[in-house]
């Protein structure tokens, strides 16, 4: 950084801006580095959720295929309830030959997932619902594992990652240097090696990181929840375009089974006329099969007299997302929704979410995102290494404050815009700005100035 030591006037202005951006890149990195590593590890694993659960819980999810004939869904349900007394709330038929059926039963100890062989009706095993290895990884990814509030940290981290990419791109921008644009200079002993490794990897991965941060936002606690309400709040929570002319209960789709983001607040219709006897689960499953629901769909069972059978499936192929509610007495569909019924905004969001999950483009989707996760970890390591090599002994080594602080104004204006769109991120920016102000005001530049 000797070029910055005695610059001419225009060069000093440019140097000031460079310092300002560098300083914020440093702060952002310091804050979100641990989250980025944790998100990359858990996210990289969760891309392969089906593979992971199929392998880790193989003895629950698979059985030896004994014949082409399977017993009726009602028999599977009865067998599960014999082992786990309670109210059956959900039935997931085997997606393919050799898979077990899954019955979810509400008990006084919480919901239990019961895995039953569809060939002889034997229960293979029982575990608390949503405790498979992939569910645990998912909860680690969203930080819900650590309680309802921890996930707000992810929302902040996502916002700061966008800031990291933007400031990182600015710092990467070629300024006449001979390397470190698309090539890596030096050896691991030298700081420039880590700086170039970080910058070049970031150039390739940056766009994907922004994509992941933005498409992850719909799940977030403040922004995601509010946008969801705003986008789907009217019309009983159904996306615009879906006609809703059947009686509605107060229960929401998300209460009974995992649903798509757009339908989290969609209310469940009621069976309009309580009849003498319900159709059997076998008849409901036959109806869903006839209507062409993709294999792997789940059937939520009616638990009240005006309840409905709800078949839902969110397969890798977005266009086959489907939710169908059946009148539990007549067996007629009350509401039948698919991806095509969502508005353009809903479709775009669902595409983003599905691609974030590594589903839209099959194996290529999984591999590309896994590579991005590995790139993020590599960049984090490189970032830590270059900071360590630059850092004055015993000090934090915050990049120096620009001499002309007016260059901050443009930067702050940009941050403010982002902060308004993502309020929780904005709030964290204000906190960080104040901290930075206090440190430079009262701490001076003595403790933090570097090179």
């Amino acid at each position: 950084m000797t070029t910055l030591s005695r610059p001419s006037r225009p060069a000093r202005a440019a140097g000031d801006l460079y310092r300002a951006v560098w300083r914020w890149h440093f702060y952002a990195g310091l804050l979100v580095l641990p989250f980025l590593i944790s998100l990359s590890l858990s996210g990289g694993a969760y891309l392969f959720k089906d593979e992971i659960d199929g392998w880790y819980h193989s003895d629950l999810k698979h059985v030896a295929q004994m014949s082409d004939v399977t017993i009726s869904p009602d028999a599977i349900l009865a067998s599960a309830q014999e082992v786990v007394p309670g109210t059956a709330v959900k039935f997931t038929p085997p997606a393919k030959a050799g898979d077990t059926a899954e019955v979810t039963i509400a008990t006084d100890r919480g919901r239990m997932a019961v895995y039953v062989s569809p060939y002889d009706g034997l229960v293979q095993g029982v575990m608390p619902d949503r405790t498979t290895l992939s569910w645990t990884i998912r909860q680690l990814h969203s930080l819900k594992y650590f309680g309802p509030y921890a996930r707000y940290a992810i929302e902040i981290a996502a916002g700061w990652s966008v800031l990291l990419v933007a400031t990182g791109l600015f710092l990467w921008w070629p300024r006449g240097q001979k390397g470190g644009v698309l090539s890596v200079r030096g050896t691991p002993q030298r700081r420039v090696f880590w700086r170039d490794l970080h910058a070049v990897t970031g150039l390739v991965a940056g766009g994907f990181i922004v994509f992941l941060a933005v498409t992850g936002m719909p799940w977030s606690g403040v922004w995601g929840a509010n946008v969801n309400e705003w986008a789907n709040g009217s019309n009983f929570g159904y996306p615009s375009g879906v006609r809703v002319d059947v009686p509605m209960s107060d229960r929401k789709l998300n209460d009974i089974a995992q649903t798509s983001w757009s339908l989290e607040h969609a209310r469940i219709p009621e069976s309009p006329n309580v009849g003498a006897s319900s159709i059997t689960l076998e008849q409901a499953v036959a109806a869903f099969d006839r209507m062409g629901l993709a294999p792997g769909y789940a059937v939520s069972l009616p638990v009240t007299p005006d309840g409905v059978f709800t078949g839902s499936v969110y397969p890798d192929d977005l266009s086959r997302q489907r939710v169908v509610h059946l009148d539990q007495y007549s067996g007629k569909p009350l509401l039948d929704m698919s991806y095509g019924d969502y508005g353009p905004g809903g479709r775009a969001l669902e595409w983003g979410i599905n691609t974030h999950l590594g589903q839209t483009y099959g194996l290529a989707n999984q591999i590309v995102l896994l590579a991005v996760c590995m790139a993020i970890i590599l960049m984090s390591v490189a970032a830590a290494a270059m900071w360590w090599k630059r850092r004055p002994a015993g000090r934090l080594g915050v990049p120096p404050m620009p001499q002309n602080r007016r260059v901050f104004r443009g930067l702050i204006a940009m941050l403010a815009l982002g902060g308004v769109i993502f309020p929780l991120v904005g709030l964290s920016l204000i906190v960080m700005l104040s901290l930075d102000f206090c440190v430079t005001r009262w701490g001076g530049n003595r403790g933090i100035a570097a090179t």
């Binding site: 003895d59 629950l60 017993i71 009726s72 009602d74 028999a75 599977i76 349900l77 009865a78 067998s79 309830q81 014999e82 082992v83 007394p85 002889d120 009706g121 034997l122 229960v123 293979q124 095993g125 029982v126 575990m127 608390p128 405790t131």
Partner: protein, 166 residues
């Protein structure tokens, strides 16, 4: 080990208590089989569990190798294992050991017999039959009284008060 002790105590209690209209104990060689029971099958149920108590009064270990029933196409000997919160049920390929001097209970939520391909669902009040095949003691015919759907033990009553026998 503790659960073994508790099962043994419970088994002994069950033996000691007069439990009314239930299947009589059956003895052959060193083995006594008692308190055989099942639960009435709910409509549509494809399989049913069978529960009983086996006491080995001898000095040699024995083993329940297999079972059959005229009322079921197949009877399997199943073990139940807990690993953390995950419960698994599997057929015991080598059967169930009945150690010398000990009592082994087959109970709901524990090891049990599994009746498959039951032609006519068992109903409360009926008596089912099983033929147990032991490595040493040979074949043994035992009756299993069919109790209500939620029966936890033979006679279909709530678990015995440990002080009831005093």
């Amino acid at each position: 080990m503790q659960t073994h002790t508790i099962s043994a105590i419970l088994g002994a209690l069950l033996l000691a208590l007069p439990l009314g209209s239930q299947a009589q104990p059956v003895t052959q060689g060193d083995l006594t089989v008692s308190d055989g029971f099942m639960r009435a099958m709910p409509p549509n149920a494809p399989v049913a569990g069978g529960y009983l108590t086996i006491t080995n009064n001898g000095t040699a270990d024995d083993r329940l190798v297999s079972a059959s029933s005229p009322e079921a196409g197949e009877v399997q000997v199943h073990e139940m294992t807990m690993n953390g919160d995950v419960m698994k049920m599997r057929e015991l390929p080598d059967g169930l050991p009945i150690p010398a001097g000990q009592t082994v209970t087959l109970t709901p939520g524990g090891n049990h017999l599994m009746f498959l391909k039951v032609a006519t669902p068992f109903t409360e009040g009926q008596t089912a039959h099983a033929t147990l095949v032991f490595q040493n003691a040979g074949q043994l015919e035992v009756p299993l009284a069919v109790g209500p759907m939620n029966a936890r033990k033979a006679g279909g009553r709530a678990p015995a008060d440990p002080h009831a026998g005093h």
